[in-house]
């Protein structure tokens, strides 16, 4: 089952004299909720995610998972990174089982437990392969199986698909929320891709920069699976764009032009 996450008045400075990177962050994520954190590069969204993972401790305030204060990393709140960072001296199966090995599970039992997971992520014929022979998408699937193997309550994703090709990315954007929903996991994904946020999350939190704050929120009440071409999806994207412009997060670029174009087509029709 998933766990709740509460962000209790988090302020963070990387040094005593520096301007705060994060300021007065407060939010509560319900058990089993899928949340996307979006914002411009450098707004501190990844820093906030590292705090949820216990890889970084905020200078003020704290993260609580199921009301326990997060003080160090744990396999119960597991993070997936942009790079799969698999260990090349281990096979696919050994990589996936690593968290269980750290937890003191015997090699044989760990192997059995990751078998089904590797089937689920579509690597049933690659279990004994050298991880260096896998494609980027396959490597990220191993990392996903590795994160799920320890049966976490929270899955934290730090732009995990940004280095993948569009086809694989779309597939994983569909598969990962499905897995989380089936298992009741709480998921938090950090992304700068508006489509990814809408495709994967129940709720999108918008962050501003200098200092990093949560400045907007959008509930995505679209049915699953999410289709990028659906009218609802498009409307949700426009709404999110509007919030961005309103909060002046500077997250413009290609998404603005996409929104502008859709406005043009709408007015032309």
């Amino acid at each position: 089952m998933g766990a709740s996450i509460s962000l209790d008045f988090i302020t963070h400075k990387f040094s005593a004299t520096a301007e705060p990177t994060l300021k007065d962050i407060e939010n509560r994520i319900e058990p089993g909720e899928l949340v996307a954190l979006i914002g411009r590069s450098g707004c501190g969204k990844s820093t906030l995610l590292h705090m949820m993972a216990g890889l970084l401790i905020p200078t003020e305030g704290c993260v609580r998972i199921n009301s326990h204060q997060v003080a160090k990393p744990s396999a119960k709140w597991n993070m997936m990174f942009q790079k799969a960072s698999l260990y090349p001296w281990m096979s696919v199966k050994e990589n996936a089982a690593l968290g269980l090995i750290f937890d003191g599970v015997s090699k044989g039992e760990a192997g059995q437990r990751v078998d089904a997971l590797l089937d689920m992520v579509g690597l049933n014929d690659k279990k004994n392969a050298n991880v260096q022979s896998l494609s980027g998408g396959q490597q990220q699937r191993v990392a996903l199986a590795r994160s799920l193997a320890t049966e976490p309550e929270v899955l934290l994703l730090d732009e995990p698909f940004s280095a993948l090709d569009a086809f694989t990315r779309t597939q994983l954007q569909e598969e990962v929320p499905n897995i989380c929903r089936e298992r009741g996991l709480t998921m938090v994904i950090v992304t700068h891709d508006i489509d990814e946020a809408i495709a994967m999350a129940d709720r999108v939190l918008i962050m501003s920069q200098n200092p990093g704050r949560i400045v907007g929120e959008l509930v995505v009440d679209l049915p699953w699976p999410r289709r990028h071409m659906d009218a609802g999806f498009q409307a949700m994207r426009d709404e999110l764009m509007k919030q961005f412009k309103g909060t002046d997060t500077g997250l413009a670029g290609r998404h603005t032009s996409v929104a502008d174009e859709s406005e043009k087509t709408a007015s032309a029709a």
């Binding site: 990393p73 960072s85 090349p88 001296w89 281990m90 690593l98 750290f102």
Partner: protein, 275 residues
């Protein structure tokens, strides 16, 4: 159809054998050429020594007397005792070198402060010839054997420390982050992540160390001891048995080459990089 089939079968069976021989020949042709050149130079040198009346007393250094002395030493079995003593010293020195070098190297590589503190002293100590420690070694150890092993340790420990530290510094920082995130303890991090990650570098350091140690061993055995290949050279010189002296030199070269080959096989074995 059937005739063409029956003809093609032996041909396809022959092909792999031919290919294998061809491959072996190709892989050996350049080393064989090199060895032949070396032997030719040696032979020419021997010929010139023999032709010079001032030097003809040393004519036993030529290939023919050397090989016959080598055959003598091998057939009488007298070659094995010095080889055994020398290999024992080098292995003992290497074991100590690894036991000290790997933990120190991991510490220096992992903690930036340790690197800053040790860099100058280590570079200073590294440049001192291991043989320069001989007087110290003789005072500090009560047996010649221990003194020689100490010199070997002084030769092996530096390449192992530097190579290990270099390996640790090269580790992808994400590997630490992922492992911490999966709940690795300090010991698990060392055993499952750091040691396998640096194994190739450690082996490369050991390979360098073996080379230096083998070179240092022979002069170290000139002193005090009455066994080993270095002693055998000294002994042959004192008895004017130059053919035996050259044969021992040959044995030293062959064993050194063998040790290096073992190391390079181990490096390949532990290398996880995709070629």
């Amino acid at each position: 159809m059937s005739t063409s089939n029956s003809q093609s079968i032996p041909v396809t069976n022959m092909m792999p054998n031919m290919g294998w021989f061809l491959g072996l020949f190709k892989s050996l042709q350049y080393p064989a050429l090199g060895i032949t050149c070396l032997l030719a130079l040696w032979w020419v040198g021997g010929y010139m020594i023999e032709a010079d009346p001032d030097l003809s007393a040393f004519s036993a250094f030529a290939p023919a007397p050397t090989f016959s002395a080598l055959v003598d030493m091998v057939s009488s079995g007298e070659v094995w005792a010095p080889i055994g003593s020398s290999l024992y010293r080098i292995l003992a020195g290497l074991v100590w070198g690894i036991a000290i070098g790997v933990p120190v190297g991991v510490t220096v590589g992992y903690f930036g402060v340790a690197l800053k503190v040790t860099n100058v002293p280590f570079q200073f100590l590294r440049m001192i010839s291991p043989l320069a420690w001989m007087p110290v070694a003789v005072l500090a150890f009560d047996s010649w054997d221990s003194a020689i092993i100490f010199l070997i340790v002084m030769a092996t420990v530096w390449p192992i420390i530097f190579s290990t530290a270099h390996g640790v510094r090269r580790i992808d920082p994400n590997w630490f982050k992922v492992a911490r995130n999966l709940g690795a303890s300090g010991f698990q991090m060392l055993r499952r992540i750091i040691l396998p990650a640096i194994m190739t570098d450690v082996m490369a350091g050991i390979r360098l160390a073996v080379g230096v140690a083998w070179v240092v061993l022979v002069p170290a055995e000139y002193l005090g001891v009455t066994s080993g290949l270095g002693y055998a050279i000294n002994d042959a010189r004192d008895t004017l048995a130059y053919d035996y002296l050259a044969a021992v030199v040959l044995v030293i070269g062959i064993i050194g080459y063998g040790l290096d080959t073992v190391c390079s096989v181990l490096i390949k074995r532990f290398n996880w990089h995709v070629e």
